[in-house]
């Protein structure tokens, strides 16, 4: 099904199932331990051996030699594969770092061996007995130091001249020079780790030249293709199965070493092998959100209208890598006739930087929305009103391109009203209650809405059950449930008559989970397949498909009613289709919006920050399932608190690695850090986005939260911190002298 004109009314609009608060259909399996995650697939292949990955102990250089005799002689060891046993393996299309093979070390904890043994403990012990001699190379580990060598990159991440790469509208420099009120500040965000609960894990088994992996991936088709490339197989000889995922946040988008090492270990051992990356390897072996250094300039008239806005961002990555697109929201969020957007990318020899939840906007909004707070103060305007004053309903660089829906002003007004924003003292550092300094902060929320083609197969079984099959993944987001809701709505049955099977590469290729495109795109694909199934049902039952309605388990037209299952009583009906998106995303700008509001208290003695209240008002199209959507947003808000207050991969700039590579050192919020969180969804549909009229919401909930926290801290203390995370040491000097 090609989606190239805005949706009109369709069966989803009935909202008998879609849009209703629905608890996860697979929830009971998960809460009772019957939903097996990758490492727990004990039943899928007999005689599984255990693998352990050895990571490189240097950040850059070469492996000179590896002494494995002691490891091979250790109890229980079945096989050892080292990186010197083979040439560097080809990279998958989505990979920046090489995953295995050859002597070259690109980054710390790069996989250099897998040990396969009868038990996990034996494999790990033996891996520790491998002696590696390295030749250390000169690495580039410091983003600031690498700035002079940084190259311009365009919006697609491609290197180009500054003239080609930088996006200019009007005359930024001239307008900024003439502006009555200006801001020119720099902001930094650190490297961050996905720190998902379930580390990367795979069981691999060979059957002749065919390979099956049971793994934990967000993108089944990408993994299949890239694993085939890496191992020199045909894609059809690789099967990927990933029905349950214990969190990804972008860290499981791209093929990772767990799958490659399990496959190589299994081939060497002649047995299925299971392995998981050890927790300390997650930070340095896999990917992370790259650090940024951002410069923002804003010029405005005394009336508060922005006349000039520039956002420049520097980030680093391995050779052939990608920039963190921290500037992307600044193209679209606020009006202003003169604009400059620029990215620079430096080569670094740290582990691969890549997507982490809301890549681009998450760190970009952390800077832009603090800059807006600072600018509002310079203008003497309320931060909410300043944003509203500079709202735009069209793409500022192309006014012929409207937003498909843009209710940012409503999000901000409703948020301010609900949160009691009017109570805020505009003078910072003036609210003291005992040892606590309190303050309110806000930020706009913004994340673009992406749409990705997505396929599904739908079966009407002889038992009357509707079964959906797609390689879509559920990374904890609630995909199972919204897909079931979609199929139930389309086929006119209850959720109890729907089965959903996900994450298997034998199923039609879907959008997968990432970029907050999965929910809308994958359900639209299921919609398309259900339209075909309805046609098949109508034909078999002798209805005209255009006239037939499907509800209450029946197919109806005029006075005629037939039970749905009769269509498949003799033989199962199967339909498959995919949604493909036309140029609507070019004709319209599709984005999602929010107002984020935060109250903090800061200990006047120690600078400890406690978030006291949080509110997000979101406008993100039709909300398919308010329960799982809320869960996504509160999780994202929690991640935003982490980014604001504590999350930072600490770079050892001498040796080139992230030092705090476990969950004791890389701190994320605990329950005690998170207060009451309120989430409000505006009642909205966006017919431009898909037949579902939905949009992404899982990343919107993060974008802007960090800045709202930082702005609240400023309001509480009068200390403006522009380098995240806002840890207490950055506040101490500016706190009241009370010793």
């Amino acid at each position: 099904m090609k989606f190239d004109t805005p949706a009109t009314s369709n069966p989803i609009d009935q909202l008998k199932v879609v849009g209703r608060p629905t608890t996860r259909i697979e929830g009971p399996l998960k809460t009772t331990g019957r939903a097996p995650y990758a490492y727990e697939r004990h039943d899928v292949a007999p005689n599984q051996a255990y693998g352990h990955v050895l990571g490189a102990g240097i950040g850059k250089g070469r492996v000179v030699s590896m002494e494995t005799d002691a490891a091979r002689a250790a109890p229980g060891v079945i096989a050892i594969v080292t990186t010197l046993d083979m040439a560097q393996l080809p990279k998958g299309k989505m990979n920046t770092a090489f995953l295995f093979g050859g002597a070259e070390i690109q980054h710390y904890h790069q996989a250099i061996a897998v040990v396969v043994a009868e038990s996990f403990e034996q494999a790990r012990d033996a891996a520790g007995l491998i002696r590696v001699e390295y030749a250390r190379g000169e690495g580039r580990f410091d983003l600031t130091a690498a700035r002079p060598q940084a190259k311009p990159v365009d919006a697609d991440g491609k290197q180009a001249s500054a003239e080609e790469a930088d996006e200019r509208v009007g005359d930024f420099e001239g307008a900024f020079a003439r502006a009555e009120v200006t801001l020119d500040e720099s902001y930094t965000t650190p490297d961050e780790s996905h720190a998902m609960m379930e580390p990367h894990a795979t069981i691999a088994a060979w059957d002749g030249g065919k390979l099956t992996i049971w793994t934990s991936t967000q993108m089944v088709a990408w993994w299949r293709r890239d694993l085939a490339i890496t191992l020199g197989l045909k894609p059809e000889d690789v099967r990927v199965d990933s029905p349950y995922i214990g969190g990804g946040f972008g860290g499981k988008l791209f093929l990772r070493a767990d799958a490659v090492m399990a496959a190589l270990g299994a081939r060497a051992a002649g047995r299925p092998v299971k392995l998981a990356l050890a927790r300390p390897q997650v930070a340095n072996n896999t990917t992370h959100r790259p650090a940024t250094i951002q410069r923002i300039r804003i010029g405005a008239g005394r009336d508060g209208r922005i006349t000039a806005i520039a956002h420049e961002s520097l980030s680093g990555d391995l050779p052939d890598g990608q920039p963190e697109t921290a500037v992307s929201q600044t193209k679209l969020l606020y009006a202003g006739a003169n604009r400059l957007i620029a990215m620079r990318l430096a080569e670094l020899d740290l582990p691969e930087g890549n997507s982490m939840r809301a890549p681009g906007e998450a760190p970009g909004m952390m800077a832009l929305e603090v800059a807006m707070d600072e600018m509002a103060e310079r203008l003497g305007l309320d931060p909410v009103e300043f944003r509203i004053l500079n709202d735009t309903q069209v793409d500022p660089s192309d006014p012929s391109r409207p937003f498909s829906q843009r209710q940012l002003i409503r999000c901000l007004r409703e948020g301010a009203e609900r949160f009691g924003w009017a109570q805020r003292n505009a003078s910072p550092g003036r609210q003291r209650n005992g040892r606590w300094l309190t303050g309110l902060g806000m930020a706009a929320g913004f994340r673009n809405n992406l749409v990705v083609k997505s396929g599904a197969r739908v079966r009407l079984g002889t038992d009357g059950m509707v079964t959906v099959e797609t390689d879509m993944t559920d990374i904890g987001t609630g995909s199972y449930t919204i897909i079931a809701q979609t199929a139930a709505e389309m086929m006119g049955v209850g959720l109890d008559r729907v089965r959903v099977r996900l994450g298997d590469s034998d199923f039609p290729v879907s959008a997968g989970s990432g970029g907050q495109f999965g929910g809308n795109s994958s359900t639209a694909g299921v919609y398309a397949a259900c339209v075909k199934l309805r046609e098949a049902v109508a034909q078999r039952l002798g209805f005209n498909a255009a006239d037939a309605s499907f509800s209450d388990g029946e197919v109806r037209a005029g006075n005629r009613r037939v039970k749905l299952e009769e269509a498949a009583a003799a033989q199962e009906l199967v339909a498959e289709d995919r949604i493909e998106f036309g140029d609507l995303s070019k004709r319209f700008q599709q984005s999602t919006f929010a107002g984020h509001f935060v109250e903090v208290a800061v200990d006047a003695f120690t600078g400890e920050v406690r978030v006291r209240r949080m509110l997000a008002v979101c406008a993100a199209g039709r909300i398919l399932n308010p329960i799982s959507a809320r869960s996504q947003v509160i999780g994202a808000m929690t991640m935003g608190v982490g980014a604001a207050l504590m999350e930072e991969l600490a770079v050892d700039k001498r040796h080139g690695f992230f030092v705090n590579h476990d969950l004791a050192g890389y701190e994320v919020p605990v329950h005690a850090d998170i207060p009451q969180q309120e989430v409000v969804f505006l009642d909205e549909t966006d017919p431009v986005s898909s037949p579902m009229k939905a949009k992404g919401v899982g990343e919107l909930g993060l974008c802007g939260v960090g800045a709202a926290v930082a702005n609240a801290i400023y309001n509480a203390t009068g200390v403006r911190v522009r380098d995240y995370p806002v840890t207490l040491d950055k506040l101490l000097e500016g706190l009241p002298d009370i010793v």
Binding site: A56, G57, F605, T606, A664, L732
Partner: protein
């Protein structure tokens, strides 16, 4: 984890004797040792399980204090009515540490013996004089935000991670031990943990095989008790700085610091400055500090944390 043998002992002297075996380590709660074994930071060849020695009682001493068995779990010690009444600083310090699950397992002696949380100690690809004597210290010149500001050496800038030990230092606790020959010692807590010097692999002054049987607290000293732990999140993190304080009505008192040194940090001679306020006291307590650029904030933080404690003590 390396293969190891295991034995369970029945008496303290049996424990001390068993520990004579090369490569032997005691195991009680295992909340630290097992993690270190998994990472091959510790590789004992023999584990002596001391969980069944009956050292799990808290008894009153003839001097009006408390004798805490080595195997009293952190949870039980924190909840003990006498501890909460007379040694509240200890109860509060315990509850500021780890998590409920860990405190259920962790023991009094084990808490004293936990190893540093320096990230370089935990990464076996990095040199560390504490993990591998003579290999060097990767932390110096590296990421040091959490590390020591005082009492450190050119060989090691690690901190001791315990909260409990900081309170015990303020309480002048005594560590009671027995050795393989049956000899008993009473080690003042001030002399129990070492500074790193050029032997940072030695955390304590315990001798080989010496076994902790109890920790004794002297008679209560009264006053108001505080344990203020400052960290980067609200719970489940090690201290940037912690302050154990006992403040008397006349403004005199005791102060011990956590998170700043290789051992709980207390300077009795500086406590005379307490009535003059946090700045005067902390200048004396942290005299001779050698912070890094990254952790110099701990000096200011310690001063301000103590100021908050003294402010509360006055209220």
């Amino acid at each position: 984890m390396r293969p190891f043998t295991y034995e369970r002992v029945r008496t303290p002297s049996e424990a001390a004797a068993a520990a004579q075996r090369p490569g032997a380590r005691f195991i009680a709660g295992g909340t630290n040792l097992l993690d270190l074994m998994k990472l091959q930071i510790e590789a004992p060849t023999h584990l002596v399980d001391v969980n069944h020695l009956g050292l799990d009682r808290i008894e009153e001493t003839g001097e009006g204090g408390l004798r805490i068995g080595a195997l009293v779990r952190n949870t039980d010690l924190a909840a003990d009515a006498r501890v909460r009444r007379d040694y509240a600083v200890l109860s509060r310090a315990l509850l500021a540490g780890a998590s409920g699950q860990l405190r259920n397992k962790a023991t009094t002696a084990g808490n004293l013996l936990q190893r540093t949380r320096c990230p370089y100690f935990y990464d076996t690809a990095q040199p560390c004089n504490k993990r591998q004597p003579g290999s060097g210290c990767a932390a110096i010149g590296g990421i040091t935000r959490q590390l020591a500001v005082i009492g450190s050496s050119d060989a090691c800038i690690a901190t001791h991670p315990s909260d409990m030990a900081v309170a015990m230092r303020a309480l002048d606790a005594i560590v009671e031990t027995i050795d393989g020959e049956g000899g008993e010692r009473r080690i003042p807590i001030a002399e129990f943990h070492r500074l790193p010097g050029d032997t940072p692999h030695l955390d304590t002054t315990l001798r080989s095989g010496e076994f902790i049987t109890a920790v004794t607290l002297p008679a209560p000293v009264g006053g108001r008790h505080f344990y203020r732990k400052v960290r980067d999140r609200a719970s489940y993190a090690f201290a940037l700085v912690s302050v154990a304080a006992i403040v008397q009505p006349d403004g005199s008192g005791r102060v011990a610091l956590g998170g700043v040194a290789h051992r709980p940090w207390r300077v009795e001679a500086a406590e005379g400055e307490l009535p003059r306020g946090a700045r005067a006291a902390m200048v004396a307590i942290l005299d001779g500090a050698r912070p890094t650029h990254e952790n110099a904030f701990k000096l200011r933080l310690a001063e301000r944390t103590l100021a908050g404690v003294l402010d509360e003590a006055r209220s």
